[in-house]
């Protein structure tokens, strides 16, 4: 009984903490994006607009719940739940700090990726059930995108697992005592970050809801709370994956002076801000380019990263670190070339 109660309290606590963080991420995005664009973002609802996401969510709760006449009704109704539940479920595997790590499973890292892989199902179902061509294309894009990015994303942490010799997330964090994994695994981190953006459907990989061609993509037909669920799931995933990034590559709760929770929050939000910064800076890639980058560049690079790590585990950090950095430079060069090589026949010279 006591055990059950403890679990219940734990679950509620985790859900509340995650939700609050999600709402904070929503606010942060509008605020930080605003400041990137020399404007101020929400100002009127609460202190500097802090209550803005609450007002938005409440308002959406109070809106009419529309189901298009031609939609596949049952699927249309459950799709947001299918998209939303993995976003919450993933936190089962999350060690928050060392004292909350009791539930940390031996295969924590693997489970994390397994649960995350479920989220595109909701998007695909939503796209299909809406009976809308834009939604359908958005859903199909989501499927293609997530399938192709799952692989390099998973491979990018193989090096980390090798170094920690465990898939338990507490061990992964514990293994970063000397230096964070970003130092040992810069190539892995780069691939992880790119894959994460794709997994999250964030700019420059926000193809499933690309507004310039698909209006609003897979969620075009969704209104009211069902849309809010998609919206929440998206931002919850942003928070979750930043947390994972912080745990796996940025040393988790390790850090001097300040308590572990604060360190973890700082690192997580550093990644969140990085994601928003990317959104404020770059355009969106095209679907064929997206797939090409995944299969032709990231996949080989992640395999290479794993091999380098294997060599590094044998010969020590003196070999590992330079090789990894060389990998980062090569990857950067290849990606830059992809952009500049497109249509080399087209020489862009403007004469006056």
């Amino acid at each position: 009984m006591n055990g059950l109660l403890r679990i219940a309290v734990g679950v509620v606590a985790v859900v509340v903490v995650v939700m609050l963080n999600t709402v904070f991420v929503m606010w942060l995005e509008r605020k930080f994006l605003g400041h990137l664009q020399s404007r101020r973002g929400p100002m009127r609802t609460g202190y500097h607009g802090l209550l803005q996401p609450f007002a938005d969510a409440l308002k959406m709760l109070g809106k009419e719940d529309l189901v298009p006449a031609a939609a596949d009704r049952a699927l249309f109704l459950v799709a947001p739940l299918i998209a939303f539940s993995p976003a919450v479920l993933i936190h089962v595997a999350m060690p928050w700090t060392e004292w909350f790590a009791k539930t940390a499973s031996e295969i924590g890292l693997l489970m994390l990726f397994a649960v995350a892989a479920l989220s595109p199902v909701g998007v695909v179902v939503a796209g299909w059930a809406s009976h809308n061509k834009y939604s359908l294309i958005g859903g199909i894009r989501a499927a293609a995108q997530q399938v192709s990015y799952e692989v390099p994303l998973l491979l990018s942490v193989v090096g980390v697992v090798m170094l920690a010799r465990s898939m338990r997330l507490t061990d992964v964090v514990g293994a970063q005592g000397v230096a964070w994994n970003i130092v040992w695994q810069p190539l892995g981190f780069l691939i992880f970050f790119i894959g994460m953006l794709a997994e999250l459907n964030r700019v420059p990989f926000d193809l499933p809801e690309a507004e310039s061609e698909l209006v609003s993509g897979f969620n075009t037909e969704y209104s009211s709370m069902r849309f809010a669920l998609f919206f929440l799931a998206e931002y919850m995933n942003v928070f979750t994956w930043s947390l994972v990034g912080a745990l796996v590559f940025l040393g988790g709760w390790m850090g001097p002076v300040l308590p572990g929770v604060v360190w973890l929050a700082l690192k997580t939000y550093a990644l969140v801000l990085l994601i928003i910064w990317v959104r404020g800076t770059v355009p969106r890639v095209r679907v064929d380019q997206l797939l090409a980058v995944s299969w032709k560049v990231l996949l080989p690079a992640s395999l290479l990263g794993a091999m380098i790590t294997a060599v590094g585990v044998v010969f020590g950090p003196i070999v590992l670190v330079p090789l990894q950095f060389a990998g980062v430079l090569t990857l950067g060069w290849v990606i830059a070339r992809l952009g500049n090589d497109a249509g080399e026949a087209a020489r862009a010279v403007v004469r006056l």
Binding site: R39, A55, L58, F227
Partner: protein, 172 residues
């Protein structure tokens, strides 16, 4: 919203919260047809920044609260306007932005121009000007949000109530 007294008393605290939310969050549809659309874009720009007030443009009518009819509507566009309005989820509001949407503007005498969109959709706010300045559009949006915060019914609801009453009278 138009509800009877008993229900109102029952849900009063919730309603208050909802009204607060509706008074602080307004997602207009990006529906621009003509000159006014440029000024509508401008309100999202750095100098005017409607994001400050919780005003945030959405592309899908399903997710929008308010339709800003920014520009002239002609007979060819009229059914599309109606369709978009019907696709929006209640409660929904309409701002007729600019003289054209209000009354046909400089093209009122034409053979193809809708002389006021209120012939097609119920309008909450009439905003004159050709085109109205961005500040005026912000004022219109804020007025709409203040009305919501005060729990005033939307034009769509008043219109529906009117239709209901007329139907009842007809059956008597």
């Amino acid at each position: 919203m138009v509800v009877d007294e008993e229900t109102r008393a029952l849900v009063a605290p919730l309603q208050k919260l909802l009204d607060w939310a509706r008074g602080h969050s307004m997602w207009p549809l990006t529906f621009g047809t003509a000159c006014c659309a440029i000024e509508m874009m401008t309100v999202g720009s750095a100098r005017y920044d409607t994001d400050r007030f919780g005003i945030f443009f959405r592309n899908s009518p399903r997710q929008a609260d308010c339709m800003i009819v920014a520009g002239t509507i002609n007979l060819k566009m009229a059914p599309r306007l109606k369709l978009l309005y019907d696709q929006m989820a209640a409660p929904k509001y309409v701002i007729a932005m600019g003289s054209c949407a209000v009354a046909g503007g400089p093209f009122a005498a034409g053979y193809n121009v809708v002389n006021g969109v209120d012939a097609i959709v119920p309008v909450d706010i009439y905003l004159t000007g050709c085109p109205p300045r961005p500040e005026a559009l912000i004022h219109a949006l804020l007025t709409l949000m203040e009305r919501n915060a005060a729990g005033e019914p939307s034009a769509a609801e008043l219109h529906a109530a009117e239709v209901r009453r007329a139907a009842q009278e007809a059956t008597w």
